[in-house]
Amino acid sequence: MKFRHACLENGLQIIAECNPAAYSAAIAFFVHTGARDETDALSGVSHFLEHMAFKGTAQRSADDVNRELDEMGAHANAFTSEEQTVYHVTVLPEYQHPALDLLSDIMRPALRPADFDTEKQVILEEIAKYEDQPPFGAHEKSMAFHFQDHPLSRSVLGTLASVSALSPDQMRGYFARRYVPNNMTLAATGHIDFEALVRQARTLCGNWHPRHVERQRPRAKAHQGFQVFPNDIATQQYVVQIANGPSAEDDGRFAARILSTTVGDDSGSRFFWKLIDSGRADCAVMYSYEYQGTGMYMSMLSGAPEETADNLQEILDTLRSVQRDGITPEELSQAQNKICSQVVLQSERPTNRLFAIGENWLQRRCYQSVRDLIECYRSVTCDHVNQVLAQFPLTECSTVAVGPLRELAMPN
């Protein structure tokens, strides 16, 4: 494994973790833009634009894009989050050149009005799909409720109203401001010829014009708000809770992951033994997430409506106990073993490493090998966990419930 880095004159970052023994090559453009960079009028535009990238360019029709990807036998996809939009392909190494040719071309999409209208229908179907399935919008509602006027409050998909109202011109304006080379990273992993990658990127992307771009990175305010949204389609009750946590820049994020694994992993955690093993809930998990400027622990509970109040009380009691006494050395060690094994297992596929190194570069402009990452988790102590708990209390969380219940008692 060898890490390589280059930067074009226009600011496009190029990074790669090269492994000549790999069977595949994975390549992606990470665009440093997402829902947090939108406004009310543009809500959902990042994700809609991600769809439009596949609808053709000046040189290629949508059919051409789809056909060429399949001709390479590529595994291609894209996703949009609160703070990044990622376009990725995994191919056999001999397709590195055509894969980058196509990927860089779709970073300059045509955004034709007819395609825009058809694709808008697909996005509206996607929104309808998520409204119909667990957790029935509880995730978006809890982000909006917890983060209030913070940029992370915005929904990635946008709403029926905001997406319906979007115009091609609004999307073009957003594209011109955000898809600039100094706001993008080309990342590659696996069996990659790095010199050839940089040469080709210079030819294909060297003429993209840089432009000043910025992102607001305020800290989020913690609160203990509690809100119930009745939903008659759901038969089960879904509850999402958010507490603030270490940000992407904070070294406390490793201790935070150990903590969330101990408290709320889907197996072997305190939530698991209290609520899942006992059959009291269908799902009770907690994960930590880091963003630029702020971070969070998000917990998710689902189960029978009539058992929800008791389960929420159990969760609060569990959080209070962790907040007071921290975690045990045995729990620390078990979480470390579990996380480090997952890191190693995931690193076997170049596609997984691609997301890890790309996100790391986007958030922190640094590279971490698998070994470095494992070292970071192994060096966490119970004291570190206690420090993170003191700085970001788990008990200070907001709560949103979605499901058949009209009202729900707050736990004591």
């Binding site: 069977y23 595994h75 059959g279």
Partner: protein, 411 residues
Amino acid sequence: MTDPIEIHQYENGLVLVTQCMDWVESAAFSLLVPAGCSRDPRSQLGLANLTCEMAQRGCGARDSRQFVNDLENLGVDHNASVSLAHTSFGGAMPAECVEAALAIHADLVLRPHLPADQLEDARLSCIQELRALEDDLAQRAMHELRRQRYGDPWGRHSAGTLDAIQRAKLEDVAQFHAATYRPNGAIVSVAGKIDAARLRDTVGELFAAWSPAPVPEQTPSAGNGTCTHLPHDSNQTHITLGFPSVPYGHRDYYQARAAVGVLSDGMSSRLFTEVRERRGLCYAVYAVCHTLRDRGSVFCYAGTTTERAQETLDVIVHELRQLAQGIRADELQRLKARLKSALIMQQESSAARSGSIAADWYYLGRVQTLAEVGRIVDELSCESINGYLAAHPPGALTVVTLGQQPLELPR
């Protein structure tokens, strides 16, 4: 592609299938015991699931908590599930831990505690699973489709029924375990950085005390292909369609698989292009080959809002009928590229190989190497696929829809 695969059958009937992958640092195993939900007595649907839940609540020298803690401290990303034919346990882990993980699972099948004081918790867990299914509308429609296509027991869902789970007693669980957690019909597969010879001895010792049990006869009923609508006040209508196909292992299987590939694999496939790209009718649309040992089906799915549902069904049915007219050379060329790159990339994952070689043994009674599958893909031609499609045009459709309004199957 080199894939040294070794197969060993022990005296008690247990089969070990291994693939050495010395380029990875991990190993993964699958343990398939013939305790699938197709073995649930008709009046006790859900018993396999409850038994699987109970089997993990302590075994050998470990109580329920120690069982989970030991696996997690070994770094085993573990799972358990119940399918029609099997209850499966498995996991991926650092290669050096695989023998220890297998030893824990030998205790699970040979020396489970099935503790009486945990029966109510296990029962509640199964009920939670059953309730959660109610909110998964796409899966509910697909499950009803399978029930209609395959009848009983092959159209069952492992979650069973609330009534049966509530009635199940500890003796039922113990009896089910004794009858179905048997080595004859069980498969252990291990793939990754392993020493196959050493593993053969270790597995032999670990499972030596496992005694065979008789295999009861099954009398499956046939499905009844009809059109059914499940009324539901949802935003989207969930459309599922199924039609008969050949099972995995049939000499024509890859012809059928390729035809479905033209329909649904990749972004230039017919369903994606016609339903989503051209018309924007839905976000999710696909078709897959589903296989039992003696029968197969093609299942299609699309989710779309009420007012666009009829058009979506019309376009899908039109594409199915078009498929019978044959596929084009450029479509086959793209499909081959996709299938071959997927085969090569399968070598990057010990978990993928472990699952795949175990399934091969169950369906085929042998294991296909990736090179062998690669040759079959090379040999596919438009003539062979179109010949198959002419003889087996998509037809005898079973349709299940779930949503606000029923749909009409186009003539």
